[in-house]
Amino acid sequence: MLSKLDKKIISLISQDIPLVKEPFKNLSLELGMEQRDVLARIKSYKKNGFMRKFSASLNHKKIGFRHNAMVVWNIPDKLVKKAGNLMASFAQVSHCYQRKKAPDWNYNLYSMIHGKTKQECFSVIRDISKKTSCKDYRVLFSSYEYKKSAAKY
């Protein structure tokens, strides 16, 4: 479905774009394409949902969000959709995924919660627990970031 050219464009724009007045001009020169064609492709990726966004990634710690808790929940299958949508409605929840369970790991819903304090995280967790009536969950705070980078395509 993706042409070789699409792959080249995707690979290039997945990394930091140059901080110059016309960044897409630099990219188009690198790709050997017209700038307007590069822009048209980028718009099409956004339109068809290949591309989620084209924006700045911030280091959340540096703007005050110092705590990130991955909370894993054991939610009955038939309630997963409702619970997932509820979790997603919290501003402090950046990611919410349903994932496969594993042996010794009876959790199927994952929510990533960011807070300026641990208390802020816990207050969201208590709220979610109450609203979903889910008492079977674990809170895994991150204690060190080993890597955070853009996917390489």
């Binding site: 479905m1 993706l2 995707i10 724009i13 990394q15 930091d16 901080l19 007045k21 016309e22 960044p23 897409f24 001009k25 700038q35 822009l39 980028i42 990726y45 068809n48 290949f50 591309m51 989620r52 966004k53 084209f54 924006s55 700045a56 990634s57 911030l58 280091n59 959340h60 540096k62 703007i63 005050g64 991955m70 997932g84 949508n85 979790m87 997603a88 929840v93 950046s94 990611h95 919410c96 995924y97 349903q98 994932r99 496969k100 594993a102 010794d104 790991w105 994952y110 895994l140 991150s142 204690s143 060190y144 970031e145 080993y146 890597k147 955070k148 980078s149 996917a151 390489k152 395509y153």
Partner: protein, 166 residues
């Protein structure tokens, strides 16, 4: 503020206090899509009612300080025929940094965190296909420093919205 307290709050608190209201407006705007036009920064500067050069200077400053990691396109891996997953590893606290370094060695690893739990390393992978993910897991399973490894592929995405109000 007591001295000890200040140390604990670290750089982030002090940096945050230094952000002007303009800085915050810029950071909030840049977390949304940049316009797909030739003069993208000029367009954003216009929206913020500032000069393009000022915007470029502030972005350069944010990058230098590590507040902005990058400005780039984020794709949905599966929609462009890539595979992605989440993996948990159990290792001893003595070996944890060594194991994390070995995991980071794979260019497919996008996120990697130490977490306070029995499974103490959690990392995400984006790879060209499922076979490659299986291959990486198989290699890691052979590592004697890794006691257990579990894979949790996503079944459904309810939310991905990594935006932080500055």
């Amino acid at each position: 503020m007591k001295k000890g307290m200040e140390r604990r709050c670290g750089v982030s608190r002090r940096l945050k206090n230094k952000l002007s209201s303009l800085d915050k407006r810029i950071l909030n705007r840049l977390q949304e899509d940049i316009p797909f036009v030739e003069r993208t920064w000029q367009a954003i500067a216009g929206q913020l009612k500032i000069e393009e050069d000022i915007l470029l200077m502030r972005i350069a400053f944010f990058k230098k300080k590590g507040i902005i990691r990058r400005i780039s396109a984020v794709f949905a891996p599966r929609k462009i025929n890539f595979a992605s997953t989440l993996i948990a590893v159990k290792t001893s606290s003595n070996n944890i940094n060594k194991v994390a370094r070995k995991i980071n060695f794979y260019p497919e690893v996008t996120h990697n965190y130490r977490r306070a739990a029995q499974f103490n390393i959690w990392f995400a992978l984006v790879a060209k296909n499922k076979k490659r993910i299986t291959q990486i897991i198989t290699e890691l399973k052979k590592d004697k420093d890794i006691k257990q490894i579990l894979e949790f592929p996503a079944v459904r995405i309810f939310k991905i919205n990594v935006k932080f109000p500055a």
